[in-house]
């Protein structure tokens, strides 16, 4: 697995620098054959997927040693990684669909790996299976429509034939593909599988899915929309931008009020993919409006954010896996106090959380800064729609960034600091060296991306520029300099300044405190008994103000039951409080849909009574109907 990942990463890096290569294996599969064609865009996704696979693979070695993995998982994991790396390398529609389906099936096997332990896994697996296959059908239909005028299914032919496609057919192809690929990227409202399936899978699989697999949804949108169909009208991309902004805000809002660590990370994936889709949408919109430089900048931001997201999400999911292994729990309300017992995991999660909150020394800051630069500099663009959409996009990103800080302060502060809230958390022990090596490798990648994004940025800018036919939007070796618009940022200087600032504040406080006379006294606890973990903030109580503010969106369900003593209604026997935060989109959209499907099925069952005569009758009536139709139409 590690070797496959390494191979993928190396191949991706080589491809990113401009060395394209292709392989055609026409005899391997009937009808379509297999055709691989790696260009720089594929290279980015290959490199990211390969790097994630390396870290997750090393972690998996440790997980297997602890008996966490069954043989089924061990068999399916390499196949999953292989298909994950083959999807971006695919050079024809048939190959892409084949690899996509292989990826879906192997990941499904991995998701349901622990179905014997928890009943929730089966439900998550069902959701995932249905949604990923509906998505597959959508992609298939969309790609077939897009390939209508092409001579064969290879991307080269589709690209050449796209000019002959009618605007209506192109729009249909793009929208259907957007639905299919968007569901894989966790785009609202096609996201409900993501926060179910990602947490229920074993943690290294979660990392692979959340850091590498969702990227391929974005890959599909970029490949089909920008590359194969050649851009398209502005409204396609406004749709992408709006859906991305909604996904970002909705995802992080659900993450901010959640208390299940891995589910929270799953929702955070929806958020980050939303941000990437905002960038992709902005890129398409600028390109359609003729502003190639800004389009390149937006796409560069999208690619860099994909990379940073992959790095920190790998760290976060693998650390969550380490915590889950040590405590058996992913409920933040039952964790805490892990700092002294699991120092390496805590440090790694801290690095990941800092990166995810998009604050200056973190990795995601640079990519979100680039995205904001693109959106803000795009404001003078002509037309009413950009004038409305772009400021709203900026506002959505700002809100998302703020909520992300709250979310990750909660995840880190409640989950790892403070006192342990359960016996399991108090008795936690640090994971083995292999697991820690996997986590540490990903954390190193996070730090590297935070300190030196300029190492990869010019390459990404080249790739983005190549796709939208513009000059690279970003230059500079130490400081990031934007081309075409004014903007300079030096991540290295920022990291150094924050490090010096933090060190001087901490050192100053230490120095001041050392001079004074000190008396050791008991912590003031109002004179009553010792402070207990029950007095601490929990994840639920930390998020309560946010939940109150956004109650109009979240629509929480609260229930207070007061039971009285039999003798008097003035004496309270017990008070029970329950609060649930159901996913509103799911409740409003999917529940009626599923209900309608069930009703439809029940109605259909009335037709099938089991009588052979009736079935023969159906056949006869259908045949007569068809003949009548032919008589009338011909």
């Amino acid at each position: 697995m590690v070797a496959a990942g390494l191979l993928g990463a190396v191949a991706g890096v080589v491809a990113m620098t401009g060395t394209a290569w292709s392989v055609a294996l026409p005899g391997l599969l009937p009808l379509t054959g297999l055709e691989f064609d790696v260009d720089p865009l594929s290279g980015v996704f290959l490199a990211v997927g390969g790097a994630v696979a390396v870290a997750a693979g090393i972690f998996a070695v440790g997980a297997t040693r602890h008996g966490l993995d069954r043989p089924g998982v061990q068999a399916a994991l390499p196949a999953f990684i292989g298909s994950l790396l083959l999807v971006p390398a695919a050079g024809s529609i048939g190959t892409l669909l084949w690899c996509w389906e292989l990826m879906a099936l192997t990941s499904l096997v991995l998701v349901v790996a622990e179905h014997r332990e928890r009943p929730a896994v089966a439900s998550a697996g069902l959701w995932y299976a249905v949604m990923t296959h509906v998505g597959f059908v959508a992609i298939m239909v969309g790609m077939l429509v897009a390939a209508g005028p092409a001579e064969d299914g290879s991307f080269v032919a589709v690209r050449a034939g796209a000019a002959d496609l009618s605007p209506a057919a192109a729009s249909l192809a793009f929208l259907v593909c957007l639905a299919g690929f968007g569901s894989k990227a966790g785009m609202v409202p096609l996201h409900p599988w993501l926060p179910r399936a990602h947490p229920e899978a074993p943690s290294h699989v979660s990392a692979l899915m959340s850091a590498a697999m969702v990227n391929l949804g974005v890959y599909g949108v970029v490949r089909v929309g920008i590359d194969l169909l050649g851009g398209g009208p502005s409204w396609w991309w406004v749709t992408v931008l709006v859906l991305g902004a909604v996904s970002a805000v909705y995802g992080i809002l659900q993450a901010a009020v959640g208390s299940d660590l891995k589910r929270l990370l799953g929702y955070s994936t929806t958020e980050n993919m939303g941000l990437v889709l905002v960038a992709v949408g902005a890129c398409g919109m600028f390109a359609a409006g003729g502003d190639r430089a800004l389009a390149g900048l937006a796409l560069t931001a999208a690619l860099l954010h994909l990379m940073t997201h992959a790095a920190f999400k790998t760290v976060l999911f693998l650390s969550a896996g380490s915590v889950l292994h040590a405590t058996g729990s992913r409920d933040l309300d039952a964790l805490g106090g892990l700092r002294s017992r699991m120092p390496v995991t805590t440090a790694a999660f801290g690095v990941g959380a800092l990166s995810a909150s998009a604050l200056p020394p973190g990795a995601a800051f640079v990519s979100e800064w680039l995205l904001l630069q693109a959106l803000i500099h795009g404001l003078p663009a002509p037309g009413v729609v950009p004038a409305v959409v772009l400021p709203l996009g900026v506002a959505a990103i700002a809100l998302t960034a703020g909520l992300a800080v709250a979310t990750f302060v909660k995840a880190f502060g409640i989950g790892f600091l403070g006192r342990p809230r359960s016996g399991a958390a108090a008795a936690a022990t640090e994971s083995g060296p292999a697991m820690l090596a996997g986590i540490g490798l990903a954390a190193l990648a996070c730090v590297a991306l935070a300190v030196g994004p300029t190492v990869v940025l010019p390459t990404l800018a080249d790739i983005a520029g190549g796709l939208v036919h513009a000059a690279p939007a970003v230059t500079g070796t130490v400081a990031i300099e934007l081309v075409g618009v004014t903007g300079v940022l030096s991540p290295l200087l920022l990291v150094a300044a924050s490090a010096v600032g933090t060190a001087s504040v901490v050192g100053g406080v230490r120095l001041l405190a050392r001079r004074r006379d000190r008396r050791r006294a008991r912590l003031w606890d109002c004179g009553a008994g010792p402070l207990s973990a029950r007095m601490e903030y929990t994840a639920t109580s930390f998020a309560e103000p946010l939940q109150r503010v956004f109650d109009g969106v979240l629509a929480s369900e609260q229930d207070v039951d007061v039971s009285h003593h039999r003798e008097s209604r003035y004496l309270v026997a017990a008070v029970s409080y329950r609060r649930a935060l159901p996913d509103r989109v799911e409740r409003r959209l999917y529940t009626p849909l599923l209900h309608a499907m069930t009703t439809w099925g029940r109605v259909g069952r009335g037709l099938a009574t089991g009588s052979v005569h009736r079935y023969l009758g159906y056949g006869f009536v259908t045949l007569c109907g068809l003949l009548a139709l032919l008589v009338v139409t011909r």
Partner: protein
């Protein structure tokens, strides 16, 4: 405007003459507290009679704050403790901890007869003893309940004003 300033200058300061300084021996900590004493009140088992009088002592009529004494909400902010009531079994340990939580230099004022010598509750089953049996006492206020003037007088011993 000018006439207003003239009126102010003409009238000058209108106030009662400052009372004579506090009478009696000052507690040891009073000198270091330098005229500003932050007071934490602890109810160790009082009937709430003393609390009413403390409220009056810090109210607008007796106004203990003009002598530099001020009630605060935590022993971590306090220089002195104002303890009322007999020390009950449940409050003995919290009283000890509150005393420990006050920063040095510190003083304890036992307010009311119960705090001084258990008053009418002497020998009751839930009573540990007077305040002096649990923490060292620096000043005492006599009365059941004590009059606000006597409470203010005891606080003035601490502030020295």
């Amino acid at each position: 405007m000018l006439s207003l300033w003239q009126a102010i200058r003409r009238v000058g300061r209108v106030a009662e003459p400052a009372p004579a300084g506090p009478a009696g021996p000052a507690p040891a900590a009073a000198g270091e507290l330098a005229g500003s004493v932050q007071v934490r009140h602890v109810d160790a088992g009082s009937c709430n009679g003393c609390e009413v009088e403390i409220g009056a002592a810090f109210g607008p009529v007796y106004d203990a704050e003009r002598y530099g004494a001020r009630l605060v909400a935590s022993p971590r902010h306090a220089d002195a403790l104002l303890v009322t009531g007999v020390v009950t079994r449940n409050m003995a340990e919290p009283l000890r901890r509150t005393y420990e939580a006050v920063a040095e230099p510190k003083a304890v004022v036992a307010v009311g007869d119960c705090a001084r010598n258990c008053g009418v509750f002497a020998g009751a089953y839930g009573v540990v003893g007077a305040v002096a049996d649990v923490v060292p006492v620096d000043a005492e206020v006599v009365g059941c309940p004590p009059r606000p003037e006597t409470i203010v007088a005891a606080l003035r011993l601490l502030t020295g004003r």
